[in-house]
């Protein structure tokens, strides 16, 4: 097998991976970035809203208020040291972007434009703050392109369209790089590295209806799991109530803000039953659960009664095209209907993965050791949506994830730079370290008839939607876990027809499904175990938050399959802790 050596291997070329790569390349480290799609097609490109930083360009603001909002938003499950670190680092992260060439929108004063987002307050829960910095409606695109250009200039080495298969590890548990496959040629490549950073993004593709790009299959999370690293807080998945049914694209709250409302199969405005006051503008989780309940109880719309309707036509064509032009274009393109005349079929859509690979605030992957404190895993880091630092806890605030990837991408790189000073040489790679990767590749060369990958993937995402979506209770989750275990077994017997080498995307899709299966098991198992409702995880059978028993992080281990827990880090770095309070807005 061909081998290449670097100081640092970064798997993933989204904002998190590229921010880390730039820091390393500028420090003269030899850094390689592997990405299964061309870097600027990473999912970060989809972020439109913006990135949070208390710049106080519009209204008074400071990092401590931002910190409060983030802790409260996390439903007190976020680690307060990491949150303090992130909120303090936010202004610098934004000014650095400006320096890298991100064309932020401007206020009349010439300062960076900021907009208001949900969950932002002044003075620890007071009036609305204005904290989200934006480059028009393409902030993610601007960040990704600027970072990519800067990396090219700094001579970061890119392996474009390479699929990372498995991490490499020696007996002592030291991580040594990864095996990747050149998608164009089908050839495996051993990438040896003194440190490896996972930056593979989220896993929205777990659910049938989601807002994520198809590439978001949780590959890094699954590789970590199989390498013996637990996944943290996987039960916390953010859903948005109004996605286009069966397709997933997000329809902003703005549509209901303008006077749109939801209807079930009987033509009933059902939100009046669930939230007599706020009705259709009740909080995201309440509306999502109401929709799921209507469908479960047979009051859905359509041939399969599997969605509800979002009605806008009563607003008139004028309002719809003036205030909601993006939605009108999108719905016309995909559904061939005009929302100004016809209601839109909608269903809750999976949006953001709060959980992931456990790390400390330096991006080092950490695992519990015996009963004692957790310890860093030598040579392995994780940043971005695939990681769980944990700054989002049980619920992420809009505009905080772009901030997360930038701040911790940089922090991880700085830690790696220090580490590289001590780690001058590569450690030898034992021959058996390659075995798991080689077995995975060989496995998909098996001939014969088996179930199709596409069919199994559809069943998995439907199972996750029905059994681990917004409607959760013991029975539904237990059925879900059984179903995922059964599907995972069936995948072992599946085969693909195409055994060619060049651009064999069938093989990539098969390996992506293996990754989805492992992460699905982590998600449904963690949700089954957590008997309380907190943030995005709401259990019909345990509707209250239970700080006594559950103010702690979940850890899911794959082999042997078991749950473990660790305390939330309630102590910030320099300020007083924010103790848990009831979360009301």
């Amino acid at each position: 097998m061909e081998k290449r050596s670097f100081d640092t291997l970064i798997i993933g070329a989204g904002g998190g991976g590229l921010r880390a790569a730039l820091q390393l390349a500028q420090a003269e480290a030899r850094v390689a970035v592997v990405s299964k799609v061309f870097p600027t097609r990473s999912h970060t490109v989809a972020a439109q809203g913006g990135v949070n930083a208390a710049l106080a360009n519009v209204l008074p603001d400071n990092w401590h208020w931002h910190m409060f909002d983030t802790v409260k938003g996390s439903d007190y499950l976020g680690d307060q040291d990491a949150i303090e670190y992130m909120c303090r680092a936010a202004p610098r992260a934004v000014y650095e972007l400006e320096h890298f060439g991100v064309p932020f929108s401007r206020l009349d004063t010439g300062k960076i434009y900021q907009r208001a987002f949900g969950g932002q307050s002044r003075d620890f829960g007071g009036d609305q703050a204005v904290r989200t910095c934006a480059a028009a409606d393409r902030t993610g695109h601007a960040i990704l392109h600027s970072l990519y250009q800067q990396n090219i200039r700094a001579r970061t080495h890119f392996f474009d369209e390479y699929f990372a298969i498995e991490l490499l590890q020696n007996q002592a548990g030291y991580f040594l790089g990864a095996v990747a496959m050149n998608i164009a040629s089908g050839e495996p490549l051993l990438i040896e590295a003194k440190t490896t950073i996972l930056a593979t993004g989220g896993v929205g593709q777990l659910f049938r209806t989601n807002t994520n790009a198809l590439v978001n299959t949780g590959d890094g999370m699954a590789m970590a799991l199989r390498a013996g690293i637990p996944l943290q807080d996987m039960e916390f998945f953010q859903f948005h109530p109004t996605g286009v049914a069966g397709k997933g694209m997000l329809i902003t709250e703005g549509a209901r803000g303008e006077g749109g409302y939801l209807l079930n199969g009987d033509g009933e405005r059902f939100m009046e039953r669930y939230a007599p006051n706020a009705k259709d503008l009740a909080s995201r989780d309440v509306v999502s659960r109401a929709i799921a309940t209507e469908v479960r109880e047979g009051r859905g719309v359509g041939a399969n009664r599997d969605h509800v309707l979002l009605k806008l036509d009563h607003l008139g064509a004028d309002i719809v095209s003036k205030r909601l032009p993006g939605i009108r274009d999108m719905v016309r393109t995909f559904l061939h209907i005009d929302p100004a005349d016809t209601p839109i079929p909608v269903y809750p859509t999976a949006h953001y993965t709060m959980g992931g690979i456990p790390t400390d605030r330096h991006g080092q992957v950490v695992v519990p050791v015996q009963q004692g404190a957790e310890e860093p895993v030598p040579g392995l880091y994780a940043v971005g949506e695939c990681a769980c630092v944990s700054v989002h806890g049980a619920n992420r605030l809009g505009g905080n994830s772009l901030l997360d990837i930038l701040v911790f991408g940089r922090a991880a790189a700085n830690h790696v730079i220090e580490h590289l000073k001590q780690q001058r040489y590569h450690q030898p790679i034992p021959a058996d370290a390659l075995e798991p990767a080689l077995q995975r590749l060989a496995r998909w060369n098996r001939q014969g008839k088996g179930e199709s990958i596409a069919g199994l993937r559809a069943q998995l995402t439907k199972t996750m939607e029905d059994h681990c979506g917004v409607f959760r209770n013991e029975e539904v989750l237990q059925e879900g876990q059984n179903a995922v275990l059964a599907l995972r077994e069936r995948l072992r017997e599946a085969t693909i027809d195409d055994h060619s080498q060049v651009f064999n995307t069938a093989r990539i899709e098969a390996m992506e499904l293996e990754n989805l299966m492992d992460v699905a098991l982590a998600t449904v198992s963690s949700a089954l175990a957590r008997r309380e409702s907190r943030g995005a995880h709401s259990r019909i059978d345990y509707p209250e938050r239970d700080d006594q028993q559950w103010l702690r992080h979940s850890l899911f281990n794959l082999d042997p399959m078991k749950m473990d827990y660790k305390p939330v880090r309630m102590q910030p770095l320099t300020v007083d802790s924010f103790p848990p309070k009831k979360r009301t807005y």
């Binding site: 299964k36 799609v37 061309f38 600027t40 097609r41 990473s42 999912h43 970060t44 490109v45 989809a46 393409r138 993610g140 695109h141 990704l144 392109h145 369209e161 998608i183 164009a184 989601n210 807002t211 994520n212 790009a213 198809l214 590439v215 397709k247 997933g248 694209m249 032009p325 993006g326 274009d329 999108m330 016309r332 393109t333 995909f334 559904l335 061939h336 209907i337 060619s500 060049v502 651009f503 064999n504 995307t505 990539i508």
Partner: protein
């Protein structure tokens, strides 16, 4: 076959909207294109996601005639 697979992978984008529109087109309309049009489609895929999104959702009309024609085909292939 390999050429189709390469193009299919190039249709994997950073946004769900593009994944769906381009994926549907490659599954259906693409095989009806002649070699010149296929080369044109390949070139279309070199544009950044944000540009493709505005064209394919019909917000902005591209200026090149060949691109306009392709964009119309892709939009027409978007099955409800």
């Amino acid at each position: 076959m390999n050429e189709l697979a390469r193009v299919r992978w190039k249709c994997r984008r950073g946004m769900l909207e593009l994944d769906l529109l381009l994926g549907q087109f490659v599954g259906h309309g693409y095989h009806q294109l002649d070699p010149a049009q296929r080369a044109e489609f390949d070139r279309l895929l070199d544009y950044p996601d944000t540009v493709l999104l505005e064209w394919l959702l019909g917000r902005i009309r591209p200026t090149e005639r060949e691109i306009v024609r392709l964009v119309d085909k892709i939009r027409a292939a978007a099955a409800p």
